[in-house]
Every structure is written in structure tokens, then in C-alpha cells.
């Protein structure tokens, strides 16, 4: 994966059938996800009241979403009262334009960035680049992705698809092109790699005049923004520059200061499996002589209100981007993050991307099917998003079409293309299943011809027989056996 764009990517099954063959990728992902899986389970088991916290987290988010207009107006007023400036963006282009203008007003041509899903989603780095502004990613994994001209493949650890020796090679080869080169003789010891990043980025932090961030939470009643991180690059970007621009999805608001007591327990344990992450920064507007003296908050919609309009799909907006669902997902583990074609991979991506972007493209229409519905994601989700429920709901949208909201307008969409044969098969099956006599006829026909059934099937059956034997059709169906041995049929 290279070139840093999701445009023109194939549908999930094609991308995934390629990535499942990539042994290195599979090994990297299996190792990383299994490591964190066990640790998360332990961190969660430490809290006897986890189910109650989880329910409260979901409830607080539901309260917020059902009154989102109220809370956004409240957070806007609170941020402005504390000296910040609030901007609104309906879509990615508008958000990018706002940020570009804000950076230009400072006269600067470079910015340092804290990892942010929202800015990846809107393609901010590319937009800034086209406007002649260089954006430096400072999160270790984002740095690996940026230096490797790669795409992120995980919410928390965008370079999870890279192992330590690949990271070493990228650092050794690319750091020099972006600033301070990697030390000679760099090995693949994680501590040494982290140290190389420290040295490489320090220079950029010290001279940066503009920082760009997202936020994990915005507290409506106080106007406080919260960034949860590990490395300290977040603190660097949030405190050293003169100007701070935070780009935040409208669903990140929480009502009260007290509500943080729930999320600051749910998030670290679910994401990095820690009791608490190393650093959390909280700021309310600006503080005289401490940190950035100019603060802009850019609130983005970009498909969120469309998602909100769907009463089943809405729950995806509860997501706190912990990535626990990715780490337990057997499909993600084998397909890798890039196959999902958006900054949101894994189970959450499979329900969020088709809602934010719609299901018009082949890739986006394939995402709701990128799951065996095993339910592991729902089980670990700290805000109890029933991902399988939303997946099936979105599958309906793909094959049946219907009423949806697209960029704020109610629209009736047609069923996606390419499902005609399947639809016909489903109808035929439904007809047979609604006529037990027809079902019995089919079973008897299959039984009579059973010696002729081939081991490998053509057409859609091929997908099954490539790796699996087909079950042998029995000489007699259950229903025939029952009738033969029990004689009487009830009803």
C-alpha cells in the first residue's frame, strides 16, 4: 500500500483476498492483536463495575446524540467565553478550507500534528500540502506511515501492519529526507526506534508555531477539550505552538465534566489496556502566558448528521475510537486495515464508513458484508455499539435500497448494483421455504441425484469448494424420515 490515497480502491473481498495471502502482514497483525487482546481483558477485569460503566458510557452518548444541537451550542458558547474561536464545517472541503485559511493568517508554512482521526477523514494533510503548507505527523505510528508514504491501517496504531524491522528500515531510509536523519547503526529495538523518533521530532516541536489536533472529548458545560495520548507528542503540539487548531467531529461532545469519570475509565483500558494512558491534556479556551494564545475549534459534520438521521445506525456515533473492536476482530486480523478503504478500518469502519460516505461506491457497499457477524466487537465495545445489528441494517440498505439522508436531504436510494442474481436466488429460496411441499420436492431430487454431486462446484459454489468439502446429501431428509417412521404428521 503506498501513495497515501484511498481513492479507487477495490471492494473489500478483492482487497482482502490479496491481503490474506500476505504472510508478513498476517504475522504482524496476529502478533499485535493477540498481544493487546489478552491485556485488554485483564485491564477490564480489574474493574468489578465494568458493565455498569459501559452502560453509563452508552447512555451518556445517547443523551448527547438525542440533544446534539443543544450541546453543540453549549460547547460553542463555553469555548468562546474562554477565549477560543469556533468554526463550523459541513463537509471535508469546508473544514480543510477553514484550516488552510487559519494557518495562512499566521503566516506560517508548516504545522505539527497530533494524530487525529477527523483530520485523516477529511484528508487535511493533502489539502494543506496543495496549499503549500507542510504538515508533520508527530505520533510515532503516524510518522512511520508518513515517512513510508503509506496509509494508516488501525485507529490507534496506524502502522500496526509494520513490524519492528520494517519500521527500522523506513526510519533509516526516510528520516533524512524530512529532517534529522536516523542515528547510524539504528537497530530494530523498540526503545531505539522510539528514541530515533524523539530526536527527529524534537527540532520540529521546538520551532513549530502552529499545532493541529483533534480531540477525544469536548465537555459542553465547561468548554474543555480533552486529548488522550501516550507519547507526549500531543502535549508538545497542544502547548508549544502559538496557535492551536483543533478539528473535531460534532459527536465528540459530552454533556458534563462529571461524565469524564466514565470515559476516562473506559477509554484507556479498552484501547491500550492501561489503567490510565501516560498523558491526558485538558484545556479550556486559552490561558494567559501558558500554551497557545490563539485557539480555534473547527466542528465538522461530514456525514455525521446523515448518520444521526438513521435511528439504528446512529449508535455508531457513540464510538470513542478505542479500537478494541479491531483488535478482537477475526476479519480485521486476516484482511488488514487497508482493505477497508478508509481511515476507519475494522468493525467500526464497516459500519461508519458506509454511513459517513454513503453506500454508492462498490467498496462502500461491500463494507457491511466484511463480517461473519461473530459479535466479538459488540462484546468488547466500551459504549456497547451493537455492530452486528448495524451491519445487517446496512446490508438491507445495500440490497433493498430505501430512504436515507445524504448530505442533509432525505433521498430514496436504489438497491446497489450487482446483487440481482442474489436477489433472485433469495426470492426463489424464500418461495420454496414458504412451500414445504416444494422444499420436500427439492430435497428428494437432491437425494436421488446425490451420487452425481461433484466435489468442486462452478460459479458461486466455487468460493465454497475451493477450501472446503461439500456436505454429502443424505438419502432421506429428516421430514421424510419422520413421516415414514412416525406416520402421522401434526398439522
Amino acid at each position: 500500500m503506498s501513495g497515501g490515497t484511498y481513492l479507487g480502491m477495490p471492494a473489500f473481498p478483492e482487497a482482502a483476498s490479496e491481503s490474506t495471502q500476505n504472510k508478513q502482514l498476517r504475522a504482524n497483525l496476529t502478533h499485535a492483536t493477540h498481544t493487546i487482546r489478552d491485556k485488554r481483558a485483564k485491564a477490564v477485569a480489574e474493574l468489578a463495575d465494568w458493565p455498569q460503566l459501559r452502560a453509563a458510557g452508552a447512555a451518556i452518548k445517547n443523551r448527547t446524540l438525542r440533544h446534539l444541537d443543544h450541546y453543540l451550542e453549549q460547547v460553542e458558547a463555553a469555548v468562546e467565553a474562554a477565549g477560543g474561536h469556533v468554526h463550523w464545517a459541513a463537509d471535508a472541503d469546508e473544514a480543510n478550507r477553514i484550516v488552510i485559511d487559519l494557518v495562512r493568517m499566521t503566516g506560517e508554512t508548516e504545522v505539527v500534528k497530533v494524530k487525529s482521526m477527523a483530520t485523516q477523514e477529511i484528508g487535511l494533510n493533502e489539502a494543506l500540502g496543495e496549499a503549500g503548507i507542510r504538515a508533520y505527523e508527530t505520533d510515532l505510528a503516524e510518522l512511520i506511515v508518513q515517512l513510508g508514504d503509506d496509509l494508516p491501517s488501525h485507529i490507534l496504531v496506524p502502522a500496526i501492519h509494520r513490524n519492528r524491522s520494517e519500521i527500522r528500515d523506513i526510519f533509516a531510509k526516510e528520516m533524512g529526507n524530512w529532517g534529522r536523519p536516523a542515528p547510524d547503526g539504528l537497530t530494530d529495538r523498540p526503545a531505539e526506534l522510539a528514541d530515533a523518533a524523539r530526536l527527529h521530532l524534537r527540532e520540529k516541536f521546538l520551532r513549530a508555531k502552529v499545532g493541529v489536533s483533534g480531540a477525544n472529548f469536548m465537555v459542553a458545560e465547561t468548554g474543555t477539550l480533552v486529548v488522550v495520548e501516550s507519547e507526549g507528542n500531543g502535549r508538545m503540539c497542544l502547548t508549544l505552538p502559538e496557535t492551536l487548531i483543533s478539528v473535531v467531529g460534532i459527536e465528540k461532545v459530552v454533556p458534563t465534566w462529571q461524565d469524564l469519570e466514565v470515559f476516562l475509565q473506559l477509554l484507556p483500558r479498552s484501547s491500550t489496556a492501561e489503567r490510565m494512558n501516560p498523558y491526558t491534556s485538558m484545556w479550556t479556551g486559552t490561558t494567559d502566558e501558558d500554551g497557545p494564545q490563539t485557539f480555534h475549534l473547527v466542528l465538522i459534520d461530514n456525514g455525521r448528521t446523515d448518520t444521526l438521521a438513521d435511528t439504528v445506525g446512529r449508535q455508531a456515533l457513540r464510538c470513542i475510537r478505542c479500537s478494541a473492536c479491531l483488535n478482537v476482530c477475526p476479519v480485521y486480523e486476516r484482511a488488514g486495515g487497508h482493505a477497508y478503504g478508509s481511515p476507519y478500518p475494522g468493525p467500526i469502519g464497516a459500519i461508519l464508513t458506509p454511513q459517513l460516505r454513503g453506500t454508492q461506491s462498490k467498496l462502500d457497499a461491500s463494507l457491511p458484508y466484511a463480517s461473519s457477524l461473530c459479535g466479538a466487537c459488540y462484546e468488547v465495545c466500551p459504549v456497547a455499539i451493537d455492530i452486528p445489528e448495524v451491519l445487517v441494517h446496512l446490508r438491507e440498505r445495500v440490497v433493498q435500497g430505501g430512504e436515507v439522508t445524504l448530505r442533509g436531504s432525505r433521498t430514496t436510494i436504489k438497491p446497489a448494483k450487482g446483487h440481482a442474481a442474489e436477489r433472485a436466488a433469495m426470492r426463489a429460496a424464500r418461495w420454496a421455504l414458504d412451500h414445504p411441499a416444494a422444499l420436500r420436492g427439492g430435497q428428494r431430487l437432491a437425494a436421488r441425484t446425490r451420487r452425481l454431486h461433484p466435489k468442486r462446484l462452478p460459479g458461486p459454489g466455487k468460493a465454497w469448494t475451493e477450501t472446503r468439502e461439500v456436505p454429502a446429501v443424505p438419502a432421506e431428509s429428516f421430514r421424510d424420515w419422520w413421516q415414514r417412521t412416525r406416520g402421522k404428521e401434526t398439522k
Binding site: A16, A370, S372, L439, A463, E466, R468, V470, P471, W481
Partner: protein
């Protein structure tokens, strides 16, 4: 107590032995069981692929077929999960679309009467020792629906632990999905196969001579993968193990 067997379309057509095993087992435990022939399919494949409207007639059929029964017992965890989790959703959505409460009422009527086999045995009949005999090494794969949606917990293992002669082998990575997932197995065949291969490897590692589940659809995928890989481990539905006795031991191809 009027008890009906919901054998499911997959078992009816491909795995009649499992249905026969349930009948044998329940009759041995003194339960008189009916097979209402109007039954066909719960609609799981249609619903999970997105064809909700195609599912609705099957929901109605299910309700009609099992009207008047106190307990509807089925040897398929995923079909129970379909009824329990999704029938109410289908009802809710139909109501929201202004098509009345009929489907919601159906859901309210059938959900509390529908039981997965091990639930029926342990919770309704209150038995964990069903007097079975199965002198083999067995490993148990808890299917996703059984594990996470129904919360079967220890019920299947409890039942297995009382089977005479049976040696239970623990399955590594037991809670990981086998990769079947209904139409997922063909829509995302590559990922499904990769998951199946890992599951098959774990099963083979146990050295057990049989792998059992509470669901033949997962077992079809697991067994198909094991067979293709040349494994000696056989797939067996839990019901067939529980039906097996010293007088009438399990034999592939059917009891009686």
C-alpha cells in the same frame, strides 16, 4: 407440556441424523416431541444478508407452524439467536414503517417459547446427565451465536462432562469465530477460509477424534475444511453425542 422440534432447514435437508438424535434423546428423557411439518426455515440467511422483506413470510410461517406449543426446541444456536434477537427487530421495523404490529406480536409470542437444545435440557428439564455414552476424545467449539448471543455458557460442557466414556479436550482459541458466517463464507471466501484453516488447525492440535458444536452450519464449514486438509477429526453435532448410549451407540450415518 407440548414440545415441538424445530429441526431447521439445514438439518432437515443435510443433517437428518441430528434431528433424529434430538428426537431419540428427548424421548429417552420422557418428553413427547412433535414435528409440525409446516415448519421450514427461520429466515436467518435472508435476514443476515439484508433481505428483511423476504424474511417476513418465514417469520409468519414459523409462528403458524409452532402455534399452541409450549416449547420449541432446536439443535441450532444460530436459529435460536435469529428468532430471539432479530424477530423483535423485524417486528419493530415493520411497525415503524407503518405496517402494523402483527410481526411484533409474533415475535413476542415465539421468543419466550424458543429454546436451543442445551438450554431446554438444562433450564427446562433440569438435567445435565442425560445417560449418554460416547467413548471418544472430543473437543467442543462454542459457536459465536451460542457463546455471545445466547450466552449458553457452561451448559454444553456440563452436558458433555456427564457423558460416559467421553474425554473432553480443551480447544485453544475456542472463542474465535470459525469463519462460517452464512453468506460470508462465499462473499468473503478468502477471509472465511483463512479463519476456517486456523480453527481447523486448533482442532487438530487437540488430537480429539471428534469436534462438536451446537450448530451444524458452523460444523459444515469446519468439517468441510478439516476433510479438505485430510484431518482425522470428525465433526459431530452435540445432540448426536448426547443421543448415543451403550445400547445404541453413535454410528456415523445415523442412529437406528
Amino acid at each position: 407440556m407440548r414440545v415441538a422440534l424445530f429441526v431447521t432447514c439445514v438439518n432437515d435437508t443435510l443433517y437428518p441424523d441430528t434431528g433424529r438424535a434430538v428426537v431419540t434423546l428427548l424421548e429417552r428423557l420422557g418428553v413427547e416431541v412433535d414435528f409440525p411439518a409446516a415448519q421450514t426455515c427461520c429466515g436467518q440467511a435472508q435476514f443476515n444478508t439484508g433481505y428483511r422483506y423476504e424474511t417476513e413470510p418465514l417469520v409468519r410461517r414459523y409462528a403458524r407452524a409452532f402455534e399452541g406449543y409450549d416449547h420449541i426446541v432446536t439443535p441450532s444456536g444460530s436459529c435460536v439467536a435469529m428468532v430471539r434477537d432479530n424477530y423483535p427487530r423485524i417486528g419493530e421495523k415493520a411497525a415503524a414503517e407503518g405496517r402494523g404490529d402483527e410481526l411484533a406480536e409474533i415475535a413476542a409470542s415465539v421468543v419466550p417459547r424458543t429454546y436451543e437444545l442445551t438450554e431446554f435440557l438444562v433450564d427446562v428439564l433440569g438435567v445435565t446427565d442425560v445417560g449418554a455414552y460416547f467413548p471418544h476424545t472430543v473437543t467442543y467449539h462454542p459457536t459465536c451465536h451460542g457463546l455471545r448471543m445466547l450466552g449458553l455458557g457452561r451448559r454444553p460442557v456440563e452436558l458433555l462432562s456427564h457423558v460416559k466414556g467421553l474425554e473432553l479436550r480443551e480447544l485453544p482459541g475456542a472463542d474465535e469465530c470459525c469463519g462460517f458466517g452464512g453468506t460470508f463464507a462465499v462473499k468473503n471466501a478468502a477471509v472465511s477460509a483463512a479463519m476456517g484453516a486456523d480453527k481447523a488447525r486448533h482442532i487438530s492440535e487437540t488430537g480429539a477424534s471428534a469436534v462438536c458444536t451446537v450448530d451444524n452450519s458452523c460444523l459444515m464449514h469446519i468439517g468441510g475444511t478439516l476433510a479438505r486438509l485430510g484431518s482425522q477429526t470428525r465433526p459431530v453435532h452435540l445432540a448426536e453425542i448426547l443421543a448415543s448410549t451403550e445400547e445404541h451407540p453413535y454410528a456415523p450415518g445415523g442412529i437406528r
